[in-house]
Subunit: 229 residues, 3 copies
């Protein structure tokens, strides 16, 4: 090769490597963005959570869609009366099993995570608290992300609460209805804390069969298969 | 340096960076391969799981070795009568604590993961189901992987079930024998769903002491130590 | 651009990519260092744990600071009578939700992790064992790391035990005092297994409100906020 060809080849390789390195950094930024969200949720740091969203961000929960930072803020809002670390309130949100995929232009991304939650209120707490005595919860996130000014933000936080169970009963003998939360009936402003939009059907949860579609194809066959979006 | 030397040096550095970036991508591919396996396990997507294996893949479970895709398919096969998301069946497989190491030629790899399982059947489910009422399970994977045509696949899925405990009793008062599964006594075809090979000894599990050897040396001393392979 | 300028530009890009790739490798080394620590903790491999520390490493636990390898060894020391995998002893330390940040010079780093612990002793174990019958534990690590001779080691292992609960009672009805451990009253050598230094205040734990400050600013606003160091 001539010197010019050598340089052209190197430039091309370096450009490709720069892209690949950028993708890896994006994945790390997004998985830790979600993990940080989890640590904020533990301690009811709701203003911090609202700040994780893009301006046009959304929060999908049960059959409700909260739109824009205003909608997200309406949901998390005042933290249901709890703000920050609080005596006798336990809500540890374990966030695990991250699958993050970045779009070729590195401007959007998708992320799947599992949440496993230990929640409850200590019997010595005097104040009335809108949390069941003690319970387990499992769920799956299928989120989307957007990069704005070089910073990854949540575009859609889509939490699919799969099951809840009171500690004393476990999931085999849990109530069929959810603890603490229920499907939304009205949108905002008819419901002052309601979503901007209702999904046509209530969200399914335990003991019903649930399935959160994968944002990715099968990793070996590359096929979308039965449950990929 | 002459121009030629500069270019030679750059080529060498770019080649090395390309390798290192490839290793990082391999690690990410393998850890998410296992996490995707976990999400498939949640919902009894057994054909999808069989497709994660290489042609000469193996599944090691208890004292059994299932060989080749045929062997793997024989084990997972018809999903023990369950196929996909099912009313009243909970089997969340949390997959965490990934340690992935890629061989220098980037064609094989090893991976250690921890599984923490919440399993059971809701009392409202009418159908007989081959799952205990409600239980916890913990275990460790020490898997190997192979890259075929640029795609990472499972070479050996080696699940070491460490402990199980009925929800009502917990692990301090659990039965000494496993729930739902037991050591294999015969190979296929004498046992139509049996393994291709039996290990010489039954797999140890709680409350016996168990130890799944590490595929890696001590990260600081570099020594193999007491429990590395 | 002239050939010289092209080469200068390539050299600069390759140097930057080399740094970025190194940071990614550092993050992977540190997160797996902690995960390996977790697997060692499962099986009481305490000499292996001591070897994870730098010479001037520290272990912070409750209100005690154990300094240097001698201090760390004094704490973990003889494993409280247990050494390695042991009949009827379960202490699975799930390590999850890693947030690792590497300093610009790539010589030090910080890492936050969550621990979720299933612990206990099987009723069939005859020997007296310094572990409660069966319990849950949750906590958060905020560690620092140092690179020595190219190898990442623990500089400060800072474990913030947040809550413990006996299995039978759960966290809503748990004792207010910790199981198995308690605040240190004296330093070494007045307490032969005591810390080198006492923190001015006892460590807070459930059901008190607890908050382990984040080593990082808010990922979107970049602000330190209420609870960042």
């Amino acid at each position: 090769m001539t010197t010019e060809e050598e340089i052209a080849s190197l430039k091309s390789q370096v450009a490709e490597l720069t892209h690949r390195t950028g993708v890896i950094e994006d994945i790390q930024a997004i998985r830790t963005l979600h993990f940080k969200y989890g640590y904020y949720m533990d301690k009811w740091l709701f203003p911090e959570i609202v700040d994780l969203f893009a301006e046009n961000g959304e929060f999908h929960f049960l059959n409700g869609i909260f739109k824009g930072k205003q909608g997200v803020k309406r949901f998390f809002g005042d933290g249901f009366g709890i703000d920050g670390p609080t005596y006798g309130v336990l809500t540890d949100h374990l966030q695990v099993q991250d699958i993050v995929d970045v779009a070729p232009d590195r401007m959007t991304a998708k992320g799947r995570f599992r949440c496993f939650l230990t929640g409850g209120v200590h019997e010595s707490r005097k104040e009335s608290t809108p949390i069941p005595s003690q319970f387990w919860e499992g769920g799956v996130y299928e989120n989307t992300y957007v990069k704005e000014n070089g910073i990854w933000k949540i575009r859609v936080l889509n939490y699919n609460l799969s099951w809840q169970a009171e500690y004393e009963k476990g999931w085999a003998r849990s109530e069929k209805k959810l603890l603490m939360v229920s499907q939304f009936k009205k949108t905002y402003p008819d419901d002052p804390r309601g979503p901007d939009q209702l999904k046509p059907d209530p969200a399914r949860h335990w003991p019903d069969a649930t399935m959160v579609p994968f944002h990715y194809p099968h990793p070996v066959t590359g096929e979308k298969g039965r449950y990929s979006l």
